[in-house]
């Protein structure tokens, strides 16, 4: 387990405070583009992000984890709610003030080749944020330093183009670019999903080393529970635009309480473990345009199925709020 070293001041104030964040995509219909409904991609998400920690956001496709990551950086304008960076509300900012805070929160993308401009050399790609935000020092020197930092050779790779590099090398370039402005938070959206296993391990080791060296704070979006177990300090499990359970990594993996977390974990095929306790979910996640009444998860919930009729009616009609129990936040009427 990693230990998080924080000064007293930092423990008092989280780096990021996410408050009831919502991102809806309107659905329009007809000639007049009448507003007929919303895709509730992110539907009221709140959490604190502490300095030096890695918070993983996990869930299946369509649960809103990527939209959440992008809304944190204000790549999307939130429908409602706010993100507060070190006490400063991002919703109140615009122009240069917003740009200044954007230097502090950087992103690494899933598809390492698609997220790099193929017409630019590696050197130019890494230098670009330095030019845009106005770097005080020597840009060439900084680029060489960054390439070295992510395990590329400034001599060899500086003048190459993305198509000449492997997937793993491209992801290293993406990381160098994200680090260019000395950010304090890195939001990584499935950064190793497109890579081969042996390369995945190299990139995870690099992210670990960079965090130790610079005290970086990570938001790590992933569908891969094994990777999350390895890299995260805390885990937020999302289902249909909401957090259903949030706790430290040990608690989530050793003692999951939300029925969705439980079945998600038991679905992961793992090397060398005999699965006798698999909880197979029926059906697929529902449509976020028309989420189920009551608890979002109830139509697939193995726990709800076993409840007495009166109790089940509660799941079908009442929406459970995310509440704290000991060191865990959970949204379930009957757990813990």
């Amino acid at each position: 387990m990693k230990t998080i070293e924080t000064t007293a001041d930092e423990t008092e104030q989280p780096v990021l405070q996410v408050r009831n964040l919502k991102k809806y995509y309107p659905i329009t219909s007809g000639l007049l583009n009448r507003h007929v409904g919303d895709v509730r991609a992110v539907d009221g998400v709140s959490f604190d992000l502490h300095a030096g920690e890695t918070l993983a956001i996990v869930g299946e496709s369509g649960c809103g984890k990527s939209t959440l990551a992008e809304t944190l950086l204000r790549l999307h304008e939130p429908t409602e709610g706010d993100v507060v960076y070190r006490g400063q509300s991002l919703a109140e900012l615009s122009g240069t003030a917003l740009q200044r805070i954007r230097r502090e929160i950087q992103m690494i993308f899933q598809d390492p080749t698609a997220s790099l401009n193929d017409r630019m050399s590696v050197g130019r790609i890494v230098a670009e944020p330095l030019r845009i935000h106005g770097w005080d020092g020597d840009v060439d020197e900084r680029v060489a330093e960054l390439l070295e930092e992510v395990g590329l050779s400034p001599g060899d790779h500086h003048d190459r183009f993305p198509h000449e590099l492997s997937g793993g090398q491209c992801q290293r370039v993406g990381i160098a670019r994200a680090l260019a402005l000395n950010p304090s938070v890195l939001v990584a959206d499935e950064p190793v999903s497109a890579l081969d296993v042996s390369i995945q391990a190299q990139i995870l080791a690099l992210l670990d080393a960079l965090q130790d060296e610079y005290g970086l704070t990570y938001v790590f979006v992933s569908h891969n529970m094994s990777v999350v177990r390895h890299i995260a300090d805390r885990v937020a499990v999302m289902y249909l635009g909401r957090i259903v359970e949030l706790a430290d990594v040990e608690t989530i993996f050793e003692d999951p309480q939300h029925p969705y977390t439980e079945s998600l974990l038991s679905s992961v095929p793992d090397v060398g473990t005999e699965r006798t306790d698999r909880i197979t979910l029926h059906g697929s996640p529902p449509d976020p345009i028309d989420p189920p009444e009551g608890c979002n998860f109830h139509p697939r919930c193995p726990l709800a199925r076993e409840l007495a009729e009166d109790d089940r009616a509660k799941c079908e009609t009442e929406d459970p709020a995310l509440v704290s129990h000991d060191a865990r936040d959970i949204a379930c009427h009957f757990r813990p």
Partner: protein, 338 residues
């Protein structure tokens, strides 16, 4: 042991590209017995898909099966006439692929496509074929099959589409099902459903299964035996528990250590470097530039196949006398980065 269903001997498949000859599969041999489940694992470019597609000769230009033998119940597949090959594909050996929705024709209903698959193999009247299609959809766990049969592929989710493809593959009542990354791209809870389906079908139908995947977890769920491929060759093969608990080949060992696992949240140990470019593969053992155990002897010749108990095999010099007599690597190795 009875005669194997499928025997592959010294198979070589190459791609003739502008940049030269790519030896995608370079002399592999293995057997599959009736009712057995075999996992073929490896990273991209290890030749796992090409080696299995070569079995049913699904290799198109610029690829070519250069030499070797593929025997299905004793008969050489590489010498079959187009007619015999059609009979083999689908009827005796069926295949399903990754990206299930791309394998279905969006212009026709799922039912139409399954009926077509049934009638391609057997002379069954329309009504009867439709009944059979509904039964197949029910068998693969599609809810409300008599209605689902008239739906179009875009109305199916990824997991449902993969089930429909499995139904189609079952139409010919194959004795061997080849599944190429069948759950890659599916969500874990859906993947678990599809894996359970495979386990059930394999049990009920006593069908042999070759599962190609990069995911060792998926192999652990389903397979009795595992073939580990690296750069177009078999690095190691053997029973699942032997491969997982006592891997003999340094590639298998480092590969297992580099995979983040639920039961082992501790440090992972990445393999340095990247898999080689197969248009110019390393000499000798193709893993030697990345191998922690490599000695000069490993650069010289292809390593011998060493057999251990329980039919475990590793192609590695470490288990030979000549390796131990050979001097250690004189200089520190320089890794190609990443």
């Amino acid at each position: 042991m009875s005669a194997p269903l499928l025997e592959v001997r010294d198979l070589v498949t190459q791609f003739h590209t502008d940049e030269g000859v790519v030896s995608a599969v370079d002399g592999i041999s293995y057997e599959v017995h009736a009712g057995e489940t075999v996992g073929v694992v490896g990273e991209s470019g290890s030749g796992k898909s090409v080696s299995v597609r070569s079995i049913v000769r699904l290799i198109s230009s610029p690829g070519k099966i250069e030499r070797g033998e593929v025997r299905w119940k004793g008969k050489n597949v590489l010498e079959m006439t187009p007619r015999e090959l059609r009979q083999l594909r689908g009827n005796e050996i069926a295949m399903i692929f990754q990206e299930p929705r791309e394998a279905l024709d969006p212009a026709y209903t799922v039912g139409y496509q399954i009926v077509e698959a049934i009638q391609a193999h057997r002379d069954v009247p329309n009504g009867e074929a439709r009944e059979e299609a509904i039964e197949l959809l029910a068998e693969v766990g599609i809810p409300n099959p008599s209605e689902a049969i008239s739906r179009y592929p875009h109305e199916y989710s990824g997991g449902m589409a993969q089930r429909a493809l499995v139904a189609m593959a079952l139409a010919g009542e194959p004795e061997l099902l080849i599944a190429d990354e069948p759950t890659t791209g599916l969500d874990v809870t859906i993947q678990a459903q599809v894996l359970e389906l495979f386990a059930r079908l394999q049990r009920d139908r006593e069908m042999a299964l070759i599962l190609i995947t990069h995911n060792l977890g998926v192999v652990s769920e389903l397979c009795e035996r595992v073939i580990v491929m690296y750069a177009g060759r078999i690095a190691e093969r053997g029973p699942l528990d032997r491969i997982v608990e006592e891997p003999k080949h340094p590639y298998t060992q480092t590969f297992l250590e580099s995979v983040p696992r639920l039961d082992n949240p501790g440090a992972i140990d990445p393999i340095e470097g990247t898999p080689p470019n197969l248009s110019d593969p390393p000499s000798g053992c193709r893993f030697h530039p990345r191998c922690p155990e490599a000695k000069p002897i490993c650069r010289e010749q292809q390593p011998p196949e060493i057999t251990f108990e329980d039919d475990q095999m590793a192609a590695c010099y470490v288990y030979t006398d000549s390796y131990h007599r050979s001097p250690a690597e004189p200089t520190t190795k320089h890794y190609e980065d990443d």
